[in-house]
Amino acid sequence: MAQQIPHVAYLELGDSPHLVANECTTCGARYFDRRNACAKCFNNDFKKAAISQDGILKSFTIVAFAAPGVPVPFVAGIIDCNGTSVRGNIVNCDPTPEKVSLGMKVRLTTFSLGTDEDGTEAIGFGFAPA
C-alpha cells in the first residue's frame, strides 16, 4: 500500500481517522496548531486530546468566489464537536442553502487530495451530513 500523509498534522489517520488537539494541561484550552504557550492561561505544557468525530454545524458560508485554484462553490463551516470548535468544509452535500442548515448534524470523513512524485497520498478531511 502506498504511503499516506495527512493534509495537516492534527488529522490522525488509521482505522478511525480523527482530529487531535494540543490541550493545555492547566486550563484545558485546545489548539490545532503548534503553540508556544497557552493563549488563555500562559502555561506552556500541552498533551494530545482526541476530538469527537461527530458535531453540530454552528456556522457556515457557501463560498462562490475564492482565490485562484480553489474550486467553487464549496461550503465552509464551523462545527461544534462536543464542545471543541472545529473548522472544515461540509462535503458529500450539495453546496446550496436548501441542503445546508445551521444546527445540522455532521460527521468527520476523509478523502484523497492526490499523490506526490514519490507516490505518497495526501489525505484531507471534511464533515458530511450525519
Binding site: I5, P6, H7, V8, A9, Y10, A29, Y31, F32, D33, R34, A39, K40, L57, K58, S59, F60, T61, I62, V63, A64, F65, A66, A67, P68, G69, V70, P71, V72, F74, A76, G77, I78, G83, T84, S85, V86, R87, G88, N89, P97, L102, G103, L113, D116, E117, D118, T120, A122, G124, F125
Partner: protein, 402 residues
C-alpha cells in the same frame, strides 16, 4: 472644558472612490492639509504625526508624507493594525496629547485599494518540486484555504453573521440583504461616498454571490481614499479662537482593544468580545449610554457584520439585533441611525482611512455641517472599526457646548 479633555480641532477626508491620478502620499497629503486648514493651524503647531497605511506598511508612509506637507522633525509613528489602522493612528495621537508630550497631534490614514479584488484567502503554494512536506504551525502539506474552511474576508464575515443566527435565530439571506439595502439607500445623500446608488432588495439578492449570504453589494467596496484629524487638549483649545472652540468636537472616549481568548477564536476570528469590551469601556469613559447616541458609524465590512455589532455595541438587548433592525431603528429616520454615510458597503473601505473617515462623518453631523444627510440636532455619536486578527477602535464624540 477640562484641561485634560481631548478635542478634534480639525478633520477632513478625500472623496472615496477611484483616484487613478493620485498615489497614497497625494491622498494622505490632501487629507492632512485639509485637516490642518479645518483646524486653523499649520504643521508648525503639530508635535506628533501618526500615519496609517496598511498595504504599504514598512515603507515609512509618515516620513513620505512629511516630505510633502512639512518636515519639522517631530516624532512619526507609522502604524498598521488591519482595518483598525486609522483608528489606531488617531488613538496614538490622542495618547501623545493626553500624556502631555505634544500640544497637538496629527493622525492620517490613506489607502489605495481600487481593483484589489478579493482580500484574504489563497495561502502559499508549494515552493518547489512535488513532494508533500509538512510545514507551518499546522504541519500542512498543501494550502488549507478552500480545503479546510475559508480564509476569505467575505466568507469569514458571512460565518460571523451566520453564527449569530445559530445562537439567537431569526437570520436569513433576506435579512442581511435588507441591511445592505439600508446602507445603499443612505449613501445617496453622501457625495463623499464611492458609490451613491440605491439598490432594491431584489437587485441585492440577485447580484453576484460572493460568499453566501453575502452578495457583491453586501461587501465593502475596495476603493482609494484618505482621512486626517488634528487633536489637541482642552488646555490648548481654551487659548484658541471662539470659532475654533465652537467647531471643535470633544473626544469623550477613545478605546482600542484586541481579541481576548475565546474557545472558538482559533477557527473563526471572534469580532464580538473585543467590540463589546471596547464598548463597555467607551460608554464608561464618556458617561453616556447607547440610548444617548444620535448616530453610529459602525464597521459594516459586510452586511453580515453590521448585524452582530448592533448587539456588540449594546444598541439592542443581547440577542435582539434582528428585531432591532427590523423595527427600523437603524435607518436614518430611526431611533439609532447607523451608517448614514452609506457605510463601508457604499461609502467604501480604503482600509487605513476608514477609522478616521467614520469619525469625520460623526463630527460633520455634530458640527451641523452634514448638509442633506444631517441628523437633526445631533449631540453625541459613536464610531467603531474592527480589524481582523483582531483590533477594535471605538471613539465617542460630543459636540462643543459653545
Amino acid at each position: 472644558m477640562a484641561s485634560d479633555d481631548i478635542w478634534i480641532l480639525g478633520i477632513a477626508m478625500t472623496k472615496f472612490g477611484k483616484h487613478s491620478d493620485k498615489d497614497i502620499v497625494d491622498l494622505g497629503s490632501q487629507a492632512a492639509i485639509a485637516a490642518l486648514a479645518d483646524a486653523g493651524v499649520t504643521m508648525a503647531d503639530i508635535g506628533i504625526l501618526a500615519a496609517g497605511n496598511l498595504m504599504g506598511a514598512g515603507a515609512g508612509f509618515g516620513q513620505q508624507l512629511q516630505k510633502q506637507i512639512g518636515q519639522t522633525g517631530i516624532p512619526v509613528f507609522n502604524v498598521a493594525n488591519a482595518c483598525a489602522t486609522g483608528a489606531t493612528a488617531l488613538r496614538t495621537a490622542i495618547m501623545a496629547v493626553k500624556a502631555g508630550e505634544a500640544r497637538m497631534g496629527l493622525a492620517v490614514g490613506a489607502e489605495k485599494l481600487s481593483g484589489a479584488g478579493l482580500l484574504g484567502g489563497g495561502g502559499t503554494s508549494k515552493k518547489s518540486g512535488n513532494k508533500f512536506e509538512p510545514s507551518g504551525r499546522f504541519g500542512s502539506v498543501m494550502p488549507t484555504d478552500g480545503r479546510i474552511g475559508t480564509d476569505t474576508m467575505p466568507g469569514t464575515f458571512a460565518q460571523v453573521g451566520m453564527e449569530y443566527g445559530h445562537k439567537y435565530g431569526g437570520v436569513s439571506f433576506e435579512l442581511f440583504a435588507r441591511i445592505s439595502e439600508k446602507n445603499h439607500a443612505h449613501s445617496v445623500l453622501n457625495p463623499m461616498a464611492a458609490y451613491q446608488k440605491r439598490f432594491t432588495l431584489d437587485e441585492i439578492m440577485n447580484d453576484m454571490m460572493i460568499a453566501y449570504p453575502n452578495t457583491r453589494p453586501m461587501c465593502s467596496a475596495n476603493c482609494d481614499g484618505a482621512a486626517a484629524a488634528v487633536v489637541t487638549s482642552g488646555e490648548v483649545l481654551r487659548t484658541l479662537s471662539v470659532e475654533q472652540q465652537r467647531r471643535a468636537v470633544k473626544v469623550s472616549a477613545s478605546v482600542l482593544t484586541s481579541d481576548p481568548y475565546q474557545e472558538s477564536c482559533q477557527v473563526l476570528p471572534d469580532v464580538n468580545t473585543l467590540t463589546r469590551n471596547a464598548a463597555i469601556i467607551a460608554y464608561e469613559q464618556a458617561g453616556v449610554s447607547p440610548s444617548d447616541l444620535d448616530l453610529v458609524e459602525l464597521h459594516d465590512c459586510f452586511a453580515t457584520a453590521e448585524l452582530v455589532h448592533y448587539d456588540n455595541l449594546m444598541l439592542c438587548p443581547e440577542g435582539g439585533a434582528v428585531d432591532f433592525f427590523m423595527s427600523g431603528a437603524t435607518w436614518r429616520d430611526g431611533s439609532t441611525p447607523v451608517n448614514v454615510s452609506g457605510g463601508l458597503e457604499s461609502k467604501g473601505h480604503p482600509i487605513a482611512a476608514t477609522g478616521i473617515a467614520n469619525i469625520w462623518e460623526v463630527c460633520h453631523h455634530l458640527r451641523n455641517e452634514a448638509g442633506d444627510r444631517q441628523i437633526k440636532d445631533a449631540k453625541v455619536g459613536l464610531a467603531h472599526v474592527i480589524g481582523l486578527g483582531s483590533a477594535c477602535g471605538i471613539h465617542i464624540l460630543e459636540r462643543s457646548g459653545l
